[in-house]
């Protein structure tokens, strides 16, 4: 399909849970949808989660059927490893933009996802989908439940040895692929570009990267999922099973020194969730959560938080000031116990930094002349937050999920429903 210009009713930018939800709602209303995902697979952040709060449902069990439905839907075309940029609103209220498909060096329709190329590839690099806990090959299927389940060549790390090409039983590997650019026109656009995780490398006093037993909450999340790398919870430095785990909350959130003064809305609850899961995974382990204020504001959240206390998770009020490593890899946390007003030092054998959400800066660059307005925190500005929460400053462009601000999964999905409904209404009004 390479005509000069392709026409859709709706372009959805971002294939996370919000983008999928919006695309499905519109496709089910007989709209032709193009879903553009910059990563190799749709699924966003949610597909990598273990269980989700406050119901402790399995994240993958909720997301994978939705992903399959999205990819197979007759009214949806999914374009992965792609970008949709230079979007412009025309005078008739429709939109044009440029769809850029980056080469995977694999012929998508021929690849069966057999992973023979992976076996053949001699290059090992850090696996970004396991958050660096283990390695992957340069020719690889992104992750076991990716969709589309198609291999890709990581050309930056590839040594061009050709082993994958020889190993592929479907002859699907094609090193001659080039960037494809297609002009796309659409009736309306939904932005669901999601969020970025805060990278705590910049907080020197916490020593992530220096102290190997300090990990991020996503690294812990990966250790708790069914498709986890070690099939157990282990601390990275020596592979010891931890028995005294600390969580440091508000890492990268509510912190003006890091340029993000707002609450990420999910860290309290996912930490309480991981605490509960750890009680199951490591029944003998102590879990301590160092918090500033517990924000259990949603339906069932307070009960969920209380449940974690009931299961034995300990909560200590005070922001951790410094983390120092002992010789045996254990970590000493220095903090002020606010309830007592005294300085304390506590030793833990694994420290999890509960990292917050940051705006995805790409959202602001999608449009010609950066026409899409952002708020002071870099999220897409909701011009009429109370009455039309999905509206942006450009008529006919709608925002879904965390592209408009930090929120949890139920809120994200609700927001996508709103965006889909508003987009549909816009289309009907125009036609």
């Amino acid at each position: 399909m390479t005509p000069d210009e392709v026409k859709y009713d709706v372009v959805v930018v971002g294939g996370g849970i919000a983008g999928q939800e919006a695309a499905l709602n519109l496709a089910n209303s007989d709209q032709q949808v193009l879903l553009v995902e910059k990563d190799l697979s749709i699924g966003g952040h949610m597909i990598h989660l273990s269980k989700v709060f406050p119901t402790l449902d399995c994240g993958a069990c909720i997301t994978t059927p939705k992903m399959s439905e999205t990819v197979r839907h007759p009214n949806i075309r999914v374009s992965t490893f792609s970008e949709f940029t230079e979007i412009e609103r025309l005078s008739d209220g429709t939109f044009t933009g440029l769809l850029t498909r980056h080469p995977k060096y694999v012929i998508e329709k021929d690849c069966t996802g057999c992973q023979d190329c992976e076996d053949a590839c001699p290059v090992v690099v850090k696996d970004q989908y396991q958050y660096g806990l283990v390695g992957r090959k340069a020719a690889y299927v992104p992750f076991s439940i990716s969709n589309p389940r198609v291999a890709a060549i990581d050309i930056e790390n590839c040594i061009l040895c050709g082993a994958c090409e020889r190993a592929c039983p479907a002859d699907a590997i094609d090193f001659t692929q080039k960037i494809e650019k297609t002009k796309v026109s659409a009736g309306t656009v939904i932005i669901a570009t999601g969020f970025n995780l805060f990278d705590p490398d910049v907080i020197e006093k916490y020593g992530l990267g220096k102290h190997r037993n300090v990990i991020t909450s996503m690294q812990m999340e990966r250790q708790l999922v069914p498709t986890r790398p070690y099939n157990n919870v282990l601390r990275p430095k020596d592979g010891k099973m931890p028995d005294n785990i600390a969580y440091v909350l508000c890492v990268g959130s509510r912190d003006q020194t890091l340029g993000n003064p707002i609450c990420s809305q999910v860290c309290c609850m996912y930490s309480a969730k991981q605490g509960q899961l750890l009680m199951g995974a490591l029944p003998m382990a102590d879990v301590t959560i160092y918090y500033l204020h517990i924000r259990a504001f949603g339906k069932g959240f307070e009960e969920f938080y209380q449940q974690s206390i009931g299961m034995g998770v300990e909560y200590v009020k005070g922001k951790v000031g410094t983390i120092d490593e002992k010789e045996n890899g254990d970590l000493v946390l220095r903090y002020e116990d606010i309830r007592e007003g005294s300085i304390k030092e506590a030793t833990h054998d694994l420290v999890v930094l509960s990292v917050g959400m940051l705006a995805n800066p790409e959202a602001g660059t999608l449009f010609m002349n950066n026409a899409l307005e952002l708020d002071e925190f870099g999220y897409i500005r909701q011009v009429d937050m109370l009455r039309n929460p999905a509206s942006t400053n450009i008529e006919g462009v709608f925002v879904a999920g965390t592209a408009s601000g930090p929120m949890d999964i139920p809120d994200s999905i609700a927001s996508s429903g709103a965006a889909a409904a508003e987009a549909l209404s816009y289309l009907k009004r125009k036609s």
Binding site: K205, Q256, L292, K319, V320, G321, Y335, E336, I338, I343
Partner: protein, 385 residues
């Protein structure tokens, strides 16, 4: 029960506190502070006292003096509530609250009083010279064999010894005034901290003696300062402090030895001490002024007007001192006399205002605070046993 007095926060703003109301009590500042320990947790506690207006607790606390403002708390504060600057503002406030005359508060909070008092004392010094030690001698006879100015023979018919003696009497009167006010303020501080301490303990006499070494040790070395990050800052402060203390001692106690007719060779201790002090003081003034102008580092981000008065007065004193020295050894008689008068008209008000009532009082309050803190904490520990 604690009575809340929110208007106290406005008062502290006059002493230099900024943005402290933004604090959400996470305790990061206390946790990152290299000097905060179990018995004395700061700065968050003090910030909380300030927000609530708990004046008595602040006045009974030594914590502001135990902080040396490395700025780690402010640079890592998630709310940018400037805990380091509130500690600085509280030090100014405490200086004012120890002072029973109320002058200190006026100097800190009113520009008129601050500058006015310095000008007034300066004029008094000039008038004293005009009445008692006017330049009446014959300029031609004031040159030594070595080409320098006979610095003690400006008054017709007064020999050198009497001239120095007269200046020395003036010095001693000044020293007596400073000592009187400073000691009485210290006594006030002692009452607030040790007698009415929050831990409700009585300090046994033997502890006073046993802990007295703290005073000399911390006055002489400022070792706690070096625990803060940035040893170069500590060294610079030590250079200034040692130079200043040497100069002060020489001028007040050993004036006849220092202010001689004869110009000694350059390696003579009299000249060496002078040069050492000039170097240390000047270097510190230049570095700190540049840093304050550039607002580099947390400690120099905010400058209270009294910080500038302190730096400017010290700079002018040093500058006139250097000029005086040059005029004297090159035999410029008139310039030597008038620079001498101006030098004193700057030095005397600076000492009279700064030492008992303003920024320089910390030379006494800091070591005393460490001493008092040890007294109270150790007495409390004894009581527990």
């Amino acid at each position: 029960m604690v009575k809340i007095r929110p208007e106290f926060a406005d008062e502290i703003k006059k002493f230099g506190g900024v943005d402290f109301n933004a604090c959400y009590n996470c305790g990061n500042c206390t946790a990152v502070c290299p000097l905060s320990v179990t018995d004395n947790t700061f700065p968050r506690r003090l910030l909380r006292y300030t927000v609530l207006g708990m004046e008595e607790d602040i006045q009974a606390s030594t914590d502001p003096w135990l902080c040396y403002y490395c700025g780690d708390c402010s640079s890592t504060c998630p709310r940018q509530a400037n805990p380091g600057e509130i500690m600085m503002a509280l030090r100014r406030y405490l200086t004012a609250s120890y002072d029973w005359t109320g002058l200190s508060r006026k100097f800190y909070t009113s520009k008129k009083w601050g500058i006015g008092s310095l000008v007034l004392i300066g004029i008094v010094v000039i008038l004293l010279f005009a009445f008692f030690l006017p330049f009446t001698a014959d300029p031609a006879g004031l040159i030594n064999e070595d080409g320098g100015v006979k610095i003690n023979h400006f008054v017709k018919g007064m020999d050198g010894e009497t001239f120095v003696k007269t200046i020395e009497i003036g010095d001693l009167v000044m020293a007596a005034i400073i000592t009187f006010f400073l000691v009485s303020n210290i006594f006030n501080m002692y009452l607030k901290i040790v007698i009415r301490n929050a831990k409700k303990v009585k300090v046994p006499f033997s502890l006073y003696v046993k802990e007295a070494w703290n005073l000399f040790y911390h006055f002489g070395t400022q070792m706690r300062f070096s625990k803060c990050e940035g040893k170069s800052y500590w060294l610079l402060h030590w250079l200034l402090m040692s130079g200043y203390t040497l100069m002060f001692t020489v001028i007040v106690v050993f004036l006849p030895w220092f202010q001689t007719e004869k110009i000694h060779p350059i390696y003579h201790p009299q000249r060496f001490i002078g040069y050492y002090a000039t170097f240390g003081i000047l270097l510190a003034i230049i570095v700190w002024s540049v840093n304050r102008l550039r607002k580099s580092g947390e400690i120099h981000k905010y400058s209270h007007k009294t910080d500038w008065v302190f730096l400017i007065m010290l700079f002018l004193t040093t500058l006139t001192g250097i000029m005086l020295h040059i005029f004297r050894i090159t035999g410029m008689v008139h310039f030597t006399y008038y620079t001498y008068v101006i030098h004193l008209a700057i030095l005397v008000p600076m000492l009279l205002v700064e030492v008992p009532f303003s920024k320089w009082s910390h030379l006494a309050y800091r070591p005393l605070a460490i001493y008092f803190t040890n007294l109270v904490n150790k007495a409390a520990a004894l009581k527990k046993k």
